[in-house]
């Protein structure tokens, strides 16, 4: 049986976790560079705000309605997410992390098990131990589990396909809300008279294959309770890491950045070679424990990319920003490591509502060109000019950034 577990308004929940003064009050979280609203809690939704609202348009209204505004604090979100996944792993034999706030949990098909009971236990454990509310959809396929999760949001947090007449539920769900049915597929289906998830389930397989390709065919099978969506193949690397110890200790930020950039190049090359995209980047920096000549420092930071990507400049920007964050003057560093995490296939992916498709295609074309030049003329025949991209992400606007409550001693919450 498959559980789809999704943290409710995840970024907003994280922001309110260490702000007792904000309980029940409206919260919105802005995208990178404080551009648009990417997350908001129930109170903010009630106040009339929506995902995607441009910050410059709503800033006055937020002040007037006493809405607390946050810049994206990916350090915090990544840490809370890792804690939640640790609990999933404790309670379920097989966990697939799908995104920063969504996971699939695979339970064996036991005889007469109480899956809903297990789901409530899971939900209560995450709420008690981490403080984040999650909802659980239970079904025999991933697509149905995602549908159930949506229904769970208004059904006490847990919804099992087994306990209801699923066809009646599917009849009420617009076809565009089904996982994997994007804007263009939705248009195609509506022309065929397929408007609800139930219509799609009843769509003959050959029709689905003709109009929606093989992925659409799988969606139809999954709605019928037949597991068809391949999981991310296990043989692929789930994370990629590149690192080397330096021959001589390195003290300056510029030299470290150059090294980190080289490892990022290497990691992205391997990422692209296996046709994956990364969701998170982490950077690890350390002095030599056998070096008596200076103070010791060993630390790591991680951050989520704005969207899953294999685009070198984006990953490089994030890695450089993390490194600058980690770096302390006056240390003799011996090792830097760049790690790409949360890998997924470049083809089957969750479409991001805010991804700019045209710009994305440009990036893809650029990287394909980049790859083929390096294949032809040797690795590093062409690379990024580090100093040009150098300071871009650092100057990112994050005017409403909350402290790193859980990962930085200077940011931990106060108690009285």
């Amino acid at each position: 049986m498959i559980f789809h577990v999704d943290a409710n308004s995840f970024y907003a929940s994280c922001e309110s976790l260490f702000r007792p003064d904000l309980a029940g009050k409206p919260i919105v979280v802005l995208s990178n560079n404080d551009g648009i609203v990417i997350a908001l809690n129930a109170a903010a939704k009630e106040a009339g705000f929506r995902r995607g609202d441009a910050w410059f348009k709503i800033s006055a209204e937020c002040a007037q309605k006493n809405v607390t505004v946050f810049s994206s604090n990916y350090t915090l979100y990544a840490d809370i997410s890792a804690r939640i996944v640790a609990i999933y792993n404790r309670l379920c034999p097989e966990v697939e992390v799908y995104s920063i706030d969504e996971s699939f949990l695979y339970y064996p098909d036991w005889n007469c098990p109480d899956y809903a009971g297990i789901a409530h236990h899971l939900r209560n454990t995450v709420l008690r131990e981490i403080g984040i509310p999650v909802s659980v959809g239970i079904a025999p396929t991933r697509t149905l589990a995602k549908v159930c999760n949506k229904l769970a949001k208004s059904a006490g947090g847990v919804f099992s396909a087994e306990q209801v007449d699923m066809d009646r539920e599917l009849a009420r769900i617009p076809v565009g809300d089904v996982w994997g049915i994007g804007w263009s597929k939705k248009k195609t289906l509506e022309r065929l008279g397929i408007r609800t998830a139930l219509d799609l389930k009843r769509c003959p397989l050959h029709v689905a294959k003709k109009h929606l390709t093989i992925t659409g065919l799988r969606t139809v099978q999954e709605l019928g309770g037949v597991p068809a969506n391949e999981r991310i193949e296990a043989e692929k690397n789930r994370n990629i890491c590149a690192s080397k110890s330096f021959a001589e200790p390195v003290c300056t930020l510029a030299e470290l950045e150059e090294a980190a950039a080289a490892y990022t190049h290497e990691a992205v090359r391997r990422l692209r070679a296996q046709n994956s995209r990364a969701r998170f980047v982490s950077v690890f920096l350390m002095t030599s424990p056998w070096d008596d000549a200076g103070p010791q420092h060993c630390d790591q930071r991680s951050a989520a990319l704005a969207a899953p990507t294999s685009y070198l400049p984006d990953i490089l920007d994030t890695a450089s920003a993390l490194l600058r964050d980690l770096y302390r003057e006056g240390h003799r560093y011996r090792k830097v490591m760049v790690n790409l995490l949360g890998l997924e296939d470049d083809v089957v992916s969750q479409p991001d509502l805010f991804a700019e498709t045209a710009a994305d295609e440009g990036k893809q074309a650029l990287m394909r060109c980049f790859d083929s030049i390096n294949r032809r003329y040797g690795q590093n025949a062409i690379r990024t000019a580090l100093n040009i991209t150098g300071n871009r992400s650092w100057s990112m606007r994050r005017r409403f950034l909350s402290p790193a409550y859980t990962t930085d001693l200077a940011g931990i919450p106060d108690v009285y």
Binding site: P20, R83, I87, R128, E129, L409, P413, D414, V415, Y416
Partner: protein, 118 residues
């Protein structure tokens, strides 16, 4: 495990090597549920907790009478001793002031350790 290459007599310490002492092993029992907080108040000095102490807070540990808990009170987190008073639970601040645990009391976690740098 290899030690440095030995040419003379074998080290008498062989087989007795141990990792360094890890304070996390002592203080953290359930890492995902453990958070750190900074004590700013002086109410718990009678229990040996001083202002500026670092509190290790475990959200998974159920509170029992006599333990120190972090709760949300009005607009802030407060740290108090949980005590039994007859057949009800109350918070004590060591001066004899007791405040009741109500339905609105929201527990953040149980303090399982205090770290202080001297």
């Amino acid at each position: 495990m290899y030690m440095a290459e030995e040419t003379g007599f074998p080290s008498p310490a062989r087989g007795y090597e141990a990792a360094t002492i890890d304070l996390n092993a002592l203080l953290v029992h359930n890492a995902p549920a453990t958070f750190y907080m900074r004590m700013r108040g002086s109410q718990l000095m009678y229990r040996g907790i001083f202002p500026e102490d670092l509190l290790v807070v475990d959200r998974s540990k159920p509170p029992v009478p006599g333990c120190i808990v972090v709760v949300r009170q009005d607009d802030e987190f407060v740290c108090r001793e949980l005590v039994r008073d007859g057949d009800r639970f109350v918070f004590s601040d060591g001066t004899g002031n007791l405040s009741p645990v109500t339905e609105d009391t929201e527990l953040f976690g149980t303090v399982t350790g205090v770290v202080r740098k001297l």
